[in-house]
């Protein structure tokens, strides 16, 4: 990247983002402006993709809302994102979970969860 461009965007790239990865169940707290009032709206779902880098980085959150699949793309560095909470961590072998789009019912939200034993075993191994 051009050093000048990097410098311009550096100030707006967040450095304190909660670390989350594809497959994680997250709650995204977004600022919503209604007239001159501002409130926080929470959007919860599974991160199915994380794309781009630097200021352009985005992530896609998929959820099943009233039986209908809904996907929302958030810019990672948006000032409108108050915070991101990770509800459940996953253990995924894929960078994009687009296969969830073809699933129905319980399978549509099934992502391999990271278990406590797994992390303990991993820690013991290293």
């Amino acid at each position: 990247m051009n050093p000048i461009i990097k410098e311009i965007t550096a100030a707006q790239v967040k450095t304190d983002i909660t670390s989350f990865k594809v497959g994680d169940g997250v709650r995204v707290h977004t600022k919503v402006r209604e007239g001159d009032k501002e409130r926080i709206q929470v959007y919860a779902g599974i991160v199915i993709a994380r794309k781009g880098h630097g200021i352009h980085e985005t992530f896609t959150v998929r959820r099943i809302s009233y039986g209908e699949g809904v996907e929302r793309v958030f810019p990672v560095n948006s000032p409108n994102i108050e915070k991101i909470e990770v509800e459940r961590e996953s253990e995924n072998m894929r960078a994009r979970l687009y296969y969830l789009r073809n699933r129905q019912g319980k399978a549509a939200v099934a992502v391999k969860e990271r278990r406590f034993e797994d992390t303990a075993a991993a820690a013991a191994k290293s």
Partner: protein, 217 residues
Amino acid sequence: MISSLLGKKIGMTQVYDAQNVLVPVTVVEAGPCSVVQVKTVETDGYNAVQIGFSTKKAKNTSKAELAHAKKAGLDNAPRVLGEVRLTAASTLKVGDVVTVATFAEGQFVDVIGVSKGKGFQGVVKRFRVAGGPATHGSMFHRRIGSIGMRQTPGRTWKNQSMPGHMGSDARTVQNLRVVKVIADKNLILVKGAIPGANGDDVLVRSAIKGQPKAVKA
């Protein structure tokens, strides 16, 4: 004061504005430009100022160029020279320096540059001619088709689209909003795309069609 600057296209990126909206911007390194020559009605028949941007290596500078630059008090000849026409005699004098502070955030600018060269292109790319079907044995894919009628008019009209050289043309993009001015680095961020490749020379001027109502420059 003139409201034109010569500069260099750095590249595109995105920034969040005051309303937290992600805006696509082009970064232009504009100026500082020194006034190299002032033209007046008496001496040249019209009013203008000649401005210079960047510097040329000494080994690439001719004696004439160097002498011209020395008149403006410059040690090196500018790499790019450009002229800005004025309606009235200039208040600027030879040797004055114009910087990016000329532009204010929120105002509109026009950017003039040379578009990227595309080489010799067919009519589909060059003039957006529809072309023929790809399949079903048409044997008529990206061709131009008919270029005229019969005995009347008996010739091909002017401006008939045909293959030829595309790009590398001087192009002006009007009414681009200035998103940000970074004066200490001589940078200006304009909303949207501008002609040319990164690193190409451009001219940034205050929009000739006027300014948005809130900001009168």
